[in-house]
């Protein structure tokens, strides 16, 4: 029973961080973030998000350099 809300909040933290990297957040979503998310969740999601962002960039670089090599 206790697992469900935690899962939702983690997804919500991930969504909030995704939108913050873009720099935009819908008012209704933001209001629900403010109520449901804890600082720890946001920081954890932010660190994971930053690592993913770097990984995606490295992936793009890998693709570009390997396509150029062909």
């Amino acid at each position: 029973m206790e697992q469900a809300p935690r899962k939702t909040s983690f997804l919500q933290a991930a969504r909030a961080v995704f939108w913050s990297f873009f720099g935009v957040r819908k008012r209704t979503d933001y209001d629900s973030d403010a109520v449901k998310l804890t600082l720890g969740q946001v920081i954890a999601a932010g660190l994971i998000g930053a690592a993913l962002f770097i990984a995606v960039l490295l992936g793009v670089v890998y693709l570009v350099t390997h396509l150029a090599a062909k």
């Binding site: 913050s20 990297f21 873009f22 720099g23 008012r27 403010a34 960039l57």
Partner: protein, 526 residues
């Protein structure tokens, strides 16, 4: 009730008089004032160095200074403006404004606040004094790159020491600001109700705590290379000078955001006040600021595309740098959307804020141009780069400082500033600023290198134009000095709520000037 009454009276005293008021002050307003005056003095000191540079560059050939001294001028101009003018000015704003905006009585650590200010004149004095030691001041550029920096005289040690002291001051200031914001907000002032200026300073303070030790480490390694036989950056001993550049710019790029995020905060207070509308997308502004801060840690090597790195690294840093434009663009759109259909008036703070939005955007765009690796390899160390970062730091950071000074002067002094002089200051600054820096784009595209006192004949006209702009811009700043002095001396009385569109606590709850000890009893924020 009686207890609070007694508490109120217990703290209802003014400042002590005389010099000791300033030496021993633990009051955030006094310390803020000292920070701002220090920054203003250093602005004029750094400005005089810039005018000497421009005077030499008025014509081709060497007329006024020798090349060695020219290098000292460019180095100290950079160091003084970055560490002596822009950063202390923003800390001055933080000292004055943060406690009043969150409903706190003072900063969290008032004695540490005094100490972090009084370190500054020592470091600033040491930088200026280094001109007078044998060999003259540091001449290797504000970035202190080895091997040049390993070779200079005692002035390089003075610069290292000054940078250490400035770093300690910044870290103490940042800890103070973070603690104040997180622990001393009035009841009801939740994080997401804080004025955006407070948010930008909270994020900036974290950036400072993260990167100032990196700079301290880099200059300590320079020091041990110079005097204690290490070879961190000395290729002859197995070291790597390029490693210094990586460490320096790991500090240096977040440093750029340390100088611009508080500017975003000031502009985000002013535009809603004069558009008489709430800031468009407050939450997205907070998120965008946080994103910019995080991204600022993964773009550093765009400063060193030409020093040698694998293609994959060049691509990574190019993509990351270009992506940082997204949250920055969100901010610009939010400011424009705030103004859209607002009841706008154009008092001096608003003029400088709009000037900021327009001119900073030009600086941002040229930054995007420089982010493209092959273009940067062409433009590295040309005047295009000089034009780019002056559009970011002068019409960006400095314009926001001017805007903030005009905005809060009535609050700080209790008197209205001279609006007519303020407008003169804005228009003359803006016209001369563009005459000064816009031609530098053309000079850079045509290949004129920076940090060189002489140049080929084809660059003469644009250089002459830039020098005229420089003297015009420099002299225009004297208007601000007159405005500030007039405002301190007297003038029309300012109302507590000077700008009816401004909604933060210092306007709605405090008189102008505010009491020496404000918010002894915290306000209730709804």
């Amino acid at each position: 009730m009686e207890a609070t009454h007694a508490l109120d009276h217990g703290h209802d005293h003014g400042p002590t008089t005389g010099l000791m008021r300033w030496v021993k002050s633990t009051n955030h307003k006094d310390i803020g004032t000292m920070y701002l005056w220090f920054a203003f003095i250093m602005l004029f000191a750094g400005g005089c160095l810039a005018l000497l540079i421009r005077a030499e560059l008025f014509q081709p050939g060497l007329q006024i200074v020798q090349p060695e001294f020219f290098n000292q001028l460019t180095t100290l101009h950079g160091l003084i403006m970055v560490f002596g003018a822009i950063m202390p000015a923003f800390v001055g704003f933080a000292n004055w404004q943060v406690p009043m905006m969150i409903g706190a009585p003072d900063m969290a650590f008032p004695r540490m606040n005094n100490w972090s200010f009084w370190l500054l004149p020592v470091a600033g004095g040491m930088l200026i004094a280094s001109f007078f030691v044998p060999g003259g001041a540091s001449a290797g550029g504000w970035t202190m790159y080895p091997p040049l920096f390993l070779q200079g005289g005692i002035s390089n040690d003075m610069t290292i020491f000054a940078v250490h002291i400035l770093g300690v001051s910044s870290i103490m200031g940042a800890i103070n600001i973070v603690t104040t914001i997180l622990n001393m907000r009035a009841p009801g002032m939740t994080l997401m109700k804080m004025p955006l200026f407070v948010w930008t300073w909270l994020i900036t303070a974290y950036l400072l705590i993260a990167v100032m030790p990196v700079l301290a480490g880099a200059v300590t390694m320079l020091l041990t290379d110079r005097h204690f036989g290490t070879h961190f950056f000395n290729a002859a001993g197995g070291g790597d000078p390029v490693m210094f550049q990586h460490i320096f710019w790991f500090f240096g790029h977040p440093e750029v955001y340390i100088m611009i995020l508080p500017a975003f905060g000031i502009v985000s207070q002013i535009i809603p006040a004069f558009a008489r509308k709430p800031l468009f997308g407050y939450a997205s502004m907070v998120y965008a600021t946080a994103s910019i801060a995080i991204l600022s840690f993964i773009v550093w090597a765009h400063h060193m595309f030409t020093t040698g790195m694998p293609t994959s690294a060049q691509l990574f840093f190019m993509y990351a740098t270009m992506l940082i434009a997204v949250p920055t663009g969100v901010k610009v759109f939010n400011w424009v959307a705030t103004m859209w259909r607002g009841s706008m008036t154009f008092e001096t703070p608003m003029l400088f804020a709009i000037g900021f939005v327009c001119l900073f955007t030009i600086g941002g765009f040229t930054g995007l141009v420089l982010a493209i690796t092959p273009v940067d390899i062409q433009l590295q160390d040309t005047y295009y780069v000089v034009a780019h970062f002056h559009y970011v730091l002068v019409s960006g950071a400095l314009y926001a400082i001017f805007a903030g000074v005009y905005f809060w002067l009535p609050k700080w002094t209790g008197h209205m500033y001279d609006e007519k002089l303020g407008k003169w200051h804005f228009w003359l600054s803006t016209i001369f600023f563009n005459i000064l820096f816009f031609p530098m784009h053309f000079l850079g595209l045509a290949g004129m290198p920076r940090r060189i006192p002489d140049y080929a004949l084809q660059f003469a006209d644009f250089n002459a134009m830039a020098t005229v702009g420089a003297f015009g811009f420099g002299l225009s700043q004297l208007i601000l000095l007159v405005v500030v002095l007039k405002c301190i001396k007297g003038g029309e009385k300012a109302a507590g709520h000077t700008w009816e569109g401004a909604e933060s606590l210092e306007w709605t709850h405090l008189s102008s000037p505010p009491p020496y000890h404000s918010f002894v009893i915290p306000p209730n924020v709804k």
